[in-house]
Amino acid sequence: MKFSLSKNQFFIFLFIVQTGSISIAFQTPIIEAAQQDAWIVFIVALIIQFILLVLYERYYKHFILNRFLKWLYSIYIMLILVIFVANIEKSLSVWVFLNTPPYVMVAIIVATSLYANMSRPESVVNLGVLLIPLFPLIFFFLFLATPDLIWTNLFPMGNISTGEWIKGLKEANLAFVGTEMYLIYRGYVLNTEKIYMKTIGKYILFIGTCYLITVLFTIMFFSLAEIAIVPEPIVYILKSQEVQFIERLDLFFIIIWMTWSVVTVIYLVFTVLLLFNMKRTKKGIRSVVGIHLLLFIIPLVIIWKDLFKIGYDILMYGYFVFAFIIPFFVIIVNAWRSKDAQKT
């Protein structure tokens, strides 16, 4: 696959993959784990992410995957994908399409991704631009809830145990699923466009602020007892808003989130294709269709067998393995090899 990215395109891509995967569901687990201190835990997670990205930027040239690791990463991304598609279908069936069979919705999402991934790479990587005008809308809707927020819900602070800190951090880091894409796509950024620590800082500050607002709003809107029974708190906050022009704000939020999610699905499938450098040959097209066939069948099995919990756990541990552990070893081994090669 032949394409290149500007710095802006690269960070827009990363932002969409990270926020599209889990953005409406990550608040509840963090708050359940770290209670009122969830936002402090989240800031710490943010710092960890910043350090991770700085390290990625420094050593990304050594992140060279062999065939086995490419397969491993592809399986992991496919896993994210199937869990994600199943989750989208679940949310749609709860909020919008109560009586529509799951296979219809999954088929439509998968068909859209198939159409996109049959296009040229430049088209796929630029799809995220569609979401830029929608982004301010989400926060506009969310800020309408400001009068209902109880800021005293943030207190008392600093009362959680070490165990709760660790659990909270684990959950908070899950909000950043997709960070590993940095390593996969960094090599496609134009050589002339330098990414400095300041650039990464700005990116982390932006994504962090967006996430932090949703965490803070959730803590301030619900009591701790309520949060446990609300799986998608942002949607509930919007549902409770009374505005003159529209009765159900949450529906619009769901629609925007759906667009976001479908684009993320397209991006993730594209990443799998990219890992194997699939071209638009007959064989390549067969593989693209095959991947989409899997993407159609497996989410239906997850929905049918209700495997969401297992999927979520795999995702959490998978993220640590694929964003922290494997890159660490791959970079160390390749750096050592290249040093050796230089000596000889």
């Binding site: 290149s4 159409y115 088209s123 529209i246």
Partner: protein
Amino acid sequence: MEAYNKLAPYIKTLFHDSADLIVRPLNWPEGEAILCQYSVLANQRAVNEQIDTLSQKFQEGHSNWGDSSSSTLEVFHAAKLVEYVSKGETVILFTETNLLLRINLTSNTNRSVMEPDSEHIIQGAHDGFVENMDINIALIRKRLSIPDLVVKKMIISQSSNSPITYMYIESKVSKVTLDEIEYRLRKIETEYLFSSGQLADFLEDTVWSPFPQLMTTERPDKVATNLMEGRVVLMVDNTPTVLLGPVTFGSYFQSPDDFNGRVLVGTFYRLLRIVSFLTAIFLPAFYIAVVSFHYEVLPYELSKTVKIAVNEIPYRPFIEAMILEITIELIREASIRLPSPIGQTIGIVGGLVIGDAIVSAGLVSNVMVIVVALTAISSFVIPSIEMNTTIRLLRYPFMLAASVLGFFGIVIGTIVLFIHLINLRSFNQPYFYPIVPFRPRVFKNIFMRLPYTEPHNQATSFSPKEPVEESGDTKE
């Protein structure tokens, strides 16, 4: 007369004994001369004057007596005779010397240069192209009196002898684009080519796309500004509509009026056009989705009114919308084909009488009439007639998607539309620039009419470019 008696039947056979062909002997100071011309195409008075002048020059013994700005002396050849006469020129054959004198003085049956009906503006130039390529070129040259403006001619179809003219500014045009256009023009094989629409079919990158990839215009001022932005203009003879390429999606929302008025006013109307583009595509689909699936998004009072209106209608909202949309299209089509006074009457009868009757008959709800009327008005706001028709066509699949899947259908439709737009090319260049490749700094130009400083050029590649050319910015 002897030569005439021999040659005349042969010449007439070459032109299949056409009734408007004149083949007659000509009075010439020395030797025999035969005049050939199509009487309907030649400017008789000017030709006679030219013949008198040339015969006088011949008598006076000038060495280049046949050469002037409108005549040339050549060696006779039957193929040349056919070519020149077919073009409307007058040819005089000198049988003894075997020479041919061509006089290019054709009759000008052109309408006057007036503002095109499909591209009215309030301020600015009010002239428009006519059905004569020379006049059209003159209208452009008048605006761009620079030697850099290059005019090239190419005969596309040998059987119909259709000339295509393309123009560009040497210092502005991209070499790659120009080569591509010339390559595509050379590749055309057709029996005849009479309109710019036919030419566009041969040149466009994706003929089956609903979106036009070459802009059509009848305005010389629009052509001049586009030339300055590095675009190429393609003209077909005998048609006032010219083609501009490569173009971007955003350029269809610009009007010369934007640049003739105030910056803020221009920006406001450009934004209005973009909003109307969205309304024209999404409003009926949105209404169908709300009525069919998502009643709960409407505020209580409004939802009550809509429910009462819809409850009386026997059809599904999609069928209801289709009835009205097709009616609007019928009215539009009828008013175009009829003479303008009757056309206006049809508009009034269709819009008011049928609109009112259709609601009274209970075929559609009054809310649907409001929605469809607003949609129709929105679609007419787009300055380009082709984009206008494209939008009208696009709303149907969106209506269908909304009636099947509600908001989700609209979302999926939007993503598919977006992917299609990103994939589109105009002469191999990105159609959806500055969204693809994404240029945040140029992005604002789609929505805002900024103070004029300099023309901006189009991106030549789908991928972002390194500042230094040929730096190998892509990775395999």
